[in-house]
């Protein structure tokens, strides 16, 4: 078995790489919008009515998607169930080879696809490239892990009996994917299902169907059988209909808490004719804190906080939302953070060096603006970048201080370029605040005392704690990613346990004793 290695990020500090990306973008811009069909059982139907636009220039239609109809959702699941039987019987090694080929398809198109993410989701170049690399990583990593899982695991063996455990595909996986990692997350959840021998019906976010099509194309070209992968574009109703299908065995979802809880609720009871329990793998966002100890090196803290809070305009579930600063350095840190705010470049994702691109859609912009306005009205101290472009759904990077602890900006996920700074008496008090939260996805700690680091690591409820670095950018195989509490079901994407959510374990125990003879 080959050893997994993360896909190599483009070295964007070299100008020839940047030139290639610019050329790819020009080519994309010259082409008509991506036409996204419904793909069911290998059949495609094209009637694009749902546009996804460039958040930085809403007149530019990047892709137009065909909306899956209810009967198509049902037939997709039926076709998937049928295809799953054959695909599930294919050896894990063969399936791994197909996924690895799909990774190659994405790799071959990486410049073009990065440009697509720049346009469709306003992901700045470095983040767009990282998104494609992560998608490739998921394909390669789960391929390898599925082969490993296929070998079963060791059980205790006593004389006279033989015990074995094996893992079988469950059947049909419904993948409901978000737009903020339009390649990585859609690919990751899909690859996990396929690697373990399931068939997958993918419902992409309505904001990023163009990127999702590229993922499905890569899988089909690589040799995923027709029917084993379906593409069902549309808005929330399509996802709800898919999740409700009795033929679905596993629902892999990444998105908002409200939708996640609704999926969990609906999946709890079997539907008519459903002879299995649905399993839900849900990743539902966070409210992520960075604790800064008195001994922290603020030279490191400031850039890490800026990048974690404002990179991609804060539209990552891992993004930093609250800074909890030790009282000894809080004022100094706040001064430096506020001073650094205007070093952030707010602009179009296609411009290299942009830190804060536009938000994904007008409703997101309105939500963020409302939350900031409410905090200001309630007396918070507001520091914002003054001028942001008019065109596009921009929201100014904002630092809030002196905020009421019960205010929504402290309690709710914002998913925008806003961070609050609070003073705590010490690291322990910071941990107390983290503990009071319902979310527990990522967290950060800046401290130069190994004992403090050990203590916080023991205490923290979060799924991913980052020490002395930014808190975003989990890498497949290195930082298995996923949250606890209301942040998710605890599955760790890109980690060694993730595939267990997609399989049925079967234990066979054979009595090998015959007339006292035990081999």
């Amino acid at each position: 078995m080959t050893e997994f290695r993360n896909e190599i990020l483009l070295e964007l500090r070299r100008s020839h790489e940047r030139d290639r990306l610019v050329a790819a973008l020009a080519e994309l811009d010259a082409a008509p919008p991506v036409a996204v069909p419904v793909i069911v059982g290998g059949e495609t139907r094209l009637d694009p009515t749902l546009a996804s636009v460039d958040p930085g220039d809403p007149d530019r239609i990047v892709a137009a998607a065909t909306v899956a109809e209810e009967h198509e959702v049902s037939s997709a699941v039926t076709a998937a169930a049928a295809a799953a039987r054959g695909w599930g019987e294919t050896s894990a090694v063969e399936r791994a080879a197909v996924l690895s080929r799909a990774a190659g398809e994405l790799r071959d198109r990486r410049y073009e696809l990065a440009a697509l993410a720049v346009r469709e989701c306003a992901k700045p170049w470095a983040e767009a490239d990282a998104d494609i690399c992560e998608a490739i990583d998921f394909l390669e990593y789960y391929a390898i892990e599925a082969v490993r899982l296929d070998a079963g695991r060791e059980l205790i063996q006593l004389p006279g009996e033989r015990n074995s455990i094996s893992y079988r595909p469950r059947g049909v996986v419904a993948v409901i994917a978000p737009w903020n990692f339009p390649f990585a997350i859609a690919t990751g959840m899909t690859a996990a299902g396929l690697a373990t021998g399931n068939a997958v019906c993918l419902k992409p976010a309505e904001q990023s169907p163009g990127c999702a099509l590229a993922v499905v194309e890569a899988l089909r070209r690589a040799g995923i059988p027709e029917g084993a992968i379906a593409l069902l574009p549309g808005e929330g109703e399509v996802g709800a209909a898919l999740a409700a299908e009795p033929g679905v065995h596993t629902i892999a979802f990444t998105g908002s808490g409200a939708v996640g809880l609704e999926i969990l609720r609906a999946a709890a009871l079997p539907g008519p004719g459903q002879d299995h329990l649905k399993r839900v793998v849900a990743e539902m966002g966070g409210k992520n804190c960075i604790i800064v100890d008195a001994d922290a090196d603020l030279d490191d803290v400031v850039p890490a906080v800026l990048h974690s809070a404002f990179g991609f305009a804060g539209q990552k579930c891992s993004a930093a939302s609250r800074v909890l600063a030790h009282e000894r350095i809080a004022a100094h840190l706040q001064d430096r953070l506020r001073g650094a705010l205007d070093t952030l470049l707010v602009g179009q994702a296609a411009d290299f060096g942009v830190d804060v691109p536009p938000l994904i859609e007008p409703s997101a912009q309105a939500r963020v603006e409302r939350m900031v306005a409410e905090a200001a009205a309630a007396g918070a101290n507001v520091e914002r970048v003054e001028d942001v472009p008019d065109r596009g759904y921009f929201s100014a990077p904002t630092i809030l201080a002196d905020v009421d602890p019960d205010s929504p900006v402290i309690r709710e996920e914002i998913f925008g370029p806003v961070v609050t700074v609070e003073t705590v008496s010490d690291v322990g008090a910071g941990c107390d605040l983290v503990e009071r939260q319902a979310h527990a996805l990522t967290g950060g700690l800046f401290s130069r005392n190994p004992r403090t680091i050990a203590a916080v690591s023991r205490r923290t409820p979060v799924g991913n704690l980052y020490v002395n670095r930014g808190i975003t950018g989990a890498m497949v195989g290195r930082q298995p990613f996923g949250g606890n509490r209301l942040s998710g079901t605890g599955a760790k994407a890109g980690g060694p346990d993730y595939l267990l959510h997609f399989v049925e374990p079967v234990v066979v125990t054979e009595n090998t004793v015959r007339h006292g003879l035990a081999p």
Binding site: R336, G339, T343, G353
Partner: protein, 456 residues
């Protein structure tokens, strides 16, 4: 010894330089070790000790790093105790002693001791907290036939105000140093080469301290933001007759710095000054291509005075290696030390050959590298004063005396700043001093001098 030396080099082009390189190396080496007083004996022993123990090295350097952030001695002692938690004592009395001293009962005393040790260490590398504090040392060096370049240490620049403050400090330093240097005695070797006069005042500046907008994927952002600061410093240097040397840092800012400096030097207002320098890092695989670019631009510019080029091995090797490994990139640096040493010598030759289009300055504590550069320059027909050998304050003190004693122009890099801002610099220097690949560490560990002088 002599046999292997000769055998190893016979037949290689340039081998004819080797006897003279060896002789000069021996001479400098002897002279340096004779000036090695008892002053730094304790420090040297400590460095040799930690160089042999990775964990202890890490623990002590972390302590140095955190020292300025600790509010009191007890806090520093707590950190020391925590750093020693994981260190395998292996019967080393030093560690056992430090561990015992880290117990809560002894916290304050240990912390005071540690703080004093860190201060003392910093004092070895940093010539003063402020320019006025540094001036007496600079003057003393000058009097002893040693030129200097001043580097103003500072915290990382993350805001525009911090960039402005650093620019202001540099500007002020140029004025104050020029004022102070006026009364220094005449030192002909330090004040001119055959290409013309050399300024007494020499300031090294860091572009990344001038702008908070260093973005590897968008060099134009930092370049445009730093432009007005650097322009102002160039004008000031011109006005007061000082030399401005632009340092190189990590790869993430290289393109920005190079483009900015080369662009500014094309301005007609700088045709006759100030004296300006750049840095070339021999540990970069593409450093010779960068040299091509520098030479081409220097030849094409309308400037009437030579561009100084300081060739160094490079101080961000670990950073570059780690960053590349984490991103899956081919490291931009040579991974074998010997490749860097060879590249350094290739660059030395080319810089010497390019004189007086450029003024070559060789910055290294490696006797072999220094002796090679000087020998090559002599055989190429340059006068002794046409090259410059540069060392770092604190690391190259003995070498400085040896170089100056041998009649070369030595320039010592003198950091100025307070403890807080000096720590990053200090830790980099300590790492360099104790790395296994370090010439100084090998020398301190007693490696055979002739072995160290062999052709890389």
């Amino acid at each position: 010894m002599l046999d292997t030396f000769v055998k190893g080099d016979v037949g290689l082009p340039g081998a004819e330089l080797e006897p003279e390189v060896r002789d000069l190396g021996r001479k400098l080496g002897r002279s340096a070790s004779s000036s090695r007083g008892a002053k730094h004996a304790a420090y040297d022993r400590a460095m040799t000790l930690v160089a042999g123990n990775e964990e202890l090295r890490a623990a002590l350097f972390r302590l140095v790093d955190v020292a300025p952030a600790c509010a009191n001695p007890a806090e520093l002692a707590e950190h020391l105790a925590a750093y020693l938690d994981g260190v395998e004592a292996g019967g080393l009395p030093l560690i056992l002693g430090l561990r015992a001293a880290g117990s809560p009962r002894l916290h304050t005393a240990t912390g005071r001791g540690a703080a004093a040790a860190v201060r003392q260490m910093a004092g070895r590398f940093i010539v003063g907290e402020t320019i006025p504090e540094a001036v007496p040392t600079l003057r003393e060096f000058w009097t002893q036939e040693v030129a200097t370049t001043v580097d103003l240490l500072g915290e990382a620049t993350v805001t525009r105000a911090e960039g402005q403050a650093y620019a202001d400090r540099c500007d002020r330093a140029l004025v104050d140093l020029a004022e102070a240097a006026r009364s220094w005695p005449a030192r002909p070797l330090l004040e001119a080469d055959s290409a013309g006069p050399l300024p007494r005042v020499n300031l090294s500046v860091k572009v990344t301290a001038l702008t908070p907008l260093v973005r590897p994927e968008a060099p134009e952002r930092g370049r445009e933001d730093a432009r007005h600061h650097l322009l102002r410093l160039l004008r000031r240097a011109d006005e007061v007759g000082a030399h401005l040397h632009v340092d190189m840092e990590s790869m993430d800012s290289r393109e920005l710095i190079l483009d900015l400096v080369l662009d500014l030097l094309d301005r007609p207002e700088f045709a006759d000054g100030p004296s300006v320098g750049l840095v070339l890092q021999a540990y970069l695989r593409d450093s010779e291509e960068i040299l091509d670019r520098i030479l081409e631009r220097a030849a094409g510019s309308g400037r009437r005075l030579p561009l100084s080029v300081r060739v160094v091995k490079g101080a961000y090797w670990d950073h570059e290696k780690i960053e590349a490994a984490q991103n899956g990139w081919t490291p931009p640096v040579w991974t074998e030390k010997v490749e860097t040493d060879r590249c350094f010598e290739r660059i030395c030759r080319r810089l010497v050959d390019a004189f007086p289009l450029v003024r070559p300055a060789f910055a290294s504590h490696n006797l072999r590298s220094v002796a090679f550069a000087a020998t090559y320059a002599r055989q190429a027909g340059l006068a002794t004063g046409d090259i410059e050998i540069q060392v770092l304050r604190g690391l190259g003190d003995e070498l400085q005396e040896a170089i100056a004693g041998a009649g070369f122009r030595c320039r010592t890099y003198c950091p100025v700043g307070d403890m807080v801002s000096g720590m990053a610099y200090l830790v980099r220097r300590l790492l360099e001093n104790t790395s296994n690949a370090s010439f100084l560490a090998s020398q301190a560990a007693g490696s055979d001098l002739d072995e160290l002088l062999r052709r890389p």
